[in-house]
Symmetry: D2
Subunit: 239 residues, 4 copies
C-alpha cells in the first residue's frame, strides 16, 4: 500500500538549536519522510514557515495520512489551517501527532480536552510496553522496547479514553503514560504517539520507525459508506 | 441528593412563536427547572438574553449540572461563554445538551466532530428503545417509550462513539438515531438526549422528565483524585 | 488480500425444510463460500455433521477468518470444538457470527453475556442504517440498505457495548437493533452481523455480500507483537 | 448508602501459611469485611470451604456487591457456583475481583479472554497512578499511591479493553500494568483491582481501603429499565 503522506514539522528547534540541527540535518520532518519513503510511500514534508504552513487546501486534500511534530510553536499555527486539518481528519485523512503534537491545535480540537500531562526534561529511560499485542500498530515488535534517553510524560493525561490503547510507558523516574492512543473521529483515524523529543535521536530508532510506519498504514483512509445529512424525505408513509 | 442545576435555554422560539410561548409560558427552561425543583434540586435558569447569557463565572462555578436547550441561536452564543462551559465540564460539571443542543458550541467543542444529522419536521412518532437497561439514566423506565409527535433526527450522527449508548430511537418515517449518548471528558460527564422539539409538549411527558432527572443525578460531580500537571520532580533516583 | 476463510454452518434447516433446501441447494455455507471465493479468497466450508464439526485443530489453525451460521443446533456444538474456536479467536483468527450465530457457544463465551434479544417471525422489512460511515465494513454502501423480508431482532440486545457499532436496524414492526457490532478479544477481531434468516434469500443480496466480504478483510489476522506471560525476570535492578 | 456486601475468599493461604494467618487472623475476607462494615455496609463473608462456597442462591440474591479474593484454588470453585455469580452480575450485582481474582472462573467467564499476565514474586514497590482522576473510584486519592512491597503483574494483560481505566501501575522491576479496570456486563458493574498479594499487609493500607470502599459504592446495583426478551408482538401494523 503506497500512500501520500505529509510529514509536518514546526521546524523551530532545528533553526534555533545547533545540536538539534546537527542531529536532524534535514529536520525532524526530513528524517521521518526518509524512512516513510523507504517504506514505499509518497512522503512529502511541510513546515510552519511555508505559506499556509505548507498545508494549503490542495495539499491537505491529496494527503492520505498527516504525520505531525510540534512543540514550541503550537500556538503559532493559524486557526484556519488547524480547522482545515480537523475537517480533513473528520473526512477521512489519517492523523498521527507525535510527542508535543498532543498540544497542537488540531489534536486538541479533535479531542475536546486539555491534553495536559506531567513532564520532565531529564534524559531518563522510557520503556514502552505493548498492552494490545494484536493491534496492527504493534506488528513486528517485541512485547516492549526502550528509548534510552528521553523527556518524561506522566499521567494523568487529560484525553478522552482511547478507543484502543496500544502502548503504555514506564519511566525511570517513576511515572507511567498512555503512550500510544487510537481514536476514531468522523471518518478519520488518529494515533497519538508519545516519543520524539528533539534532543535525542529517537526518530532514527528502529522500533520507533516501525511504529510510525505501521500507524501510517493503519490510519490510511478507506472508502466508507456514503452519508447524507440535513433535511430528509421519509422512507415510510405515515399520516 | 440535592444538586445545583442550571437550566440554560436560548429562549428564542418562546419570544417569536406564540404557539411555543403558549405551550411553555415560563419558557422551556422554566418547564424543566420546575420538575427538577420538584425532584428536590436547587434548579435555576439562565438564558441567552441575560448578561453573559446568565452564565457568568460565578454561576458556572456553583453549578453541579448544566442542562442546555438551544436551536436557532447556537451561533449567537459568545465564544468566551462557550469556553467557560467547556472548561467547567472538563473540571467536573455535568452537562446535558437536549435536542439541538447537540449543535451548541460547548457540545461540539467537547466532541471535536461535526455532530451532523438528518432531520425532518413532520410530527411523526419516535419510539425510544432502552439499549442499556442497566444504566442508571434508564432507572424506572419500561424497555421503550414513545413521543407521539416530534421532529425526526437520523443517522449517521457524526459524534465520537459514545462511552455508553442508553437509547436508540425508531422513527415512523423509517430512520433510527442514537438518542441517548454518554460521554466522559476531563472530569465531567455528558449526556446528550435527543428529544425536545419546541413545537410539541415533550418536556411535560413523564418519561422525558424521568430521563432528565436520572441524567442530572448521573452527571453530578464527584470528588475524584487530585491531579497535578506540568514540570514534575522524579519519584525515583536515576543517574 | 486472499485469505483462508472457513464458512461454518450447522446445516440443519437445509436438511429438514424443503423450502430452505431449494433456496440454498449447496446450503447457506455453500452460498456464502461461493461469493467469498469469487472475491478471491480460499473459501472452504464445514458443517455440524462432519467429524469435529469440520473444525479439527488443523482446519482451525489454517483458518484466517471463520464465518459462522447457526440457529437450531447451537446447543449441539461440542464444547471442545467451541473452546477451540474461542482459543483461535483469542490467538488472532477473525470471527463473523451471522444471525443466530449470536447464540452460538463461541460467541457467547467470547462475550461473557447472555446475548438475549427480542424476535418475531413476521417477514417484515429491515432497514440497516450505517451509523459509522467511515468504518471499512461499510465500504461501498449507501447510508442504508433494506432487507425486504426477514425475522425481527429487537433490543435490548444483551452484549457488551461494542467497540464500534457499524449498523443499526429499523424494523417495520417498530423495533431497533444494533445489527453490526465490532469487538476485539485477545488478538482477534469479531463482527456480529444480524441478517441471515434461512427463510429468505438474504445471502444472495448484494449489500449483504458486500458487508460480509468487507468484514472478512477487516477481521483478517495481523502479525502483532510478541507477548510473553508467566513468571518474568526484572528489567531493572532493585534491592 | 448502606449495601449488602459479600466478601468471598478462597481462604487457603491463611490455612496453610502461618505468616499469612498471622497477618490476617480473620482471613483476608475478615480484614476486608471489617473496613467495609466500618464504612457503614452490611458486610458478610463467605469462603471456599463452606457449603456452596458460602454462595448459595439466597446469599447471592441478597448481595449488592461481591468482593472476591482468590489465587491458589481458582480451579476448585464449583462450576455451578461460578455460573451463579456470573448470572447475578449480569442481573445487576456488583463484582470486584481482587488480585488473582482476575483468574477466577466468574471473572474469566465474564471477560471471555485468558486474562493472562506476567508476574514476579519479588517484594518490589508498586506505584499506582490515577489515569482517570474524575472517576468516583478515585475519590479522595492523590494522583498516585505506593504499595511498598508486592508481587508484580505485567502487561500484556489479556482482557477486553476496559470501559474505563482508573489506575495504571509502575513497578520497580520495570513493568507496567492496568491495575484498575472497569467493565459493564449485562446490568452489572465490574471493577478488577490488581493489589492484594497475601504476603503483604496490603488490605490494611489506607489507599487500598479507600479504593475498595469507593468501588463498592460505584458497583452498587441500580433499578434500571425493565427488559423483555423472546418472541414479541409488533408495535406497528404492517401487511
Amino acid at each position: 500500500m503506497s500512500l501520500t503522506v505529509t510529514v509536518w514539522n514546526e521546524n523551530v528547534h532545528e533553526q534555533e538549536e545547533p545540536a538539534v540541527a546537527e542531529r536532524y540535518p534535514d529536520g525532524i520532518h526530513g528524517a521521518i519522510a526518509d524512512f516513510l519513503a523507504e517504506a514505499g510511500h509518497d512522503a512529502q514534508t511541510a513546515t510552519l514557515q511555508e505559506p499556509a504552513h505548507g498545508l494549503d487546501a490542495e495539499t491537505v486534500a491529496e494527503t492520505d495520512v498527516l504525520v505531525w511534530w510540534s512543540h514550541a510553536a503550537n500556538h503559532e499555527v493559524d486557526d484556519e489551517v488547524a480547522d482545515r486539518v480537523v475537517d480533513a481528519v473528520l473526512d477521512g485523512m489519517g492523523f498521527i501527532p507525535l510527542h508535543s503534537g498532543k498540544n497542537s491545535k488540531p489534536f486538541k480540537r479533535l479531542m475536546g480536552t486539555s491534553c495536559d500531562i506531567k513532564y520532565r526534561h531529564g534524559g531518563e529511560t522510557e520503556r514502552l510496553w505493548v498492552v494490545d499485542p494484536g493491534h496492527p500498530i504493534a506488528d513486528g515488535l517485541d512485547d516492549h522496547f526502550e528509548i534510552p534517553e528521553t523527556e518524561m510524560y506522566g499521567e494523568p493525561y487529560m484525553v478522552p479514553e482511547p478507543d484502543r490503547l496500544v502502548f503504555t510507558s514506564w519511566f525511570e523516574g517513576g511515572e507511567v503514560f498512555r503512550s500510544g492512543c487510537c481514536y476514531h473521529r468522523g471518518r478519520g483515524d488518529i494515533f497519538a504517539f508519545r516519543p520524539g523529543h528533539e534532543e535525542y535521536p529517537i526518530f532514527y530508532q528502529d522500533e520507533v520507525q516501525t511504529v510510525i510506519e505501521n500507524a501510517v498504514e493503519w490510519a490510511a483512509p478507506n472508502e466508507g459508506a456514503s452519508a447524507t445529512h440535513g433535511q430528509s424525505e421519509p422512507l415510510e408513509d405515515y399520516e
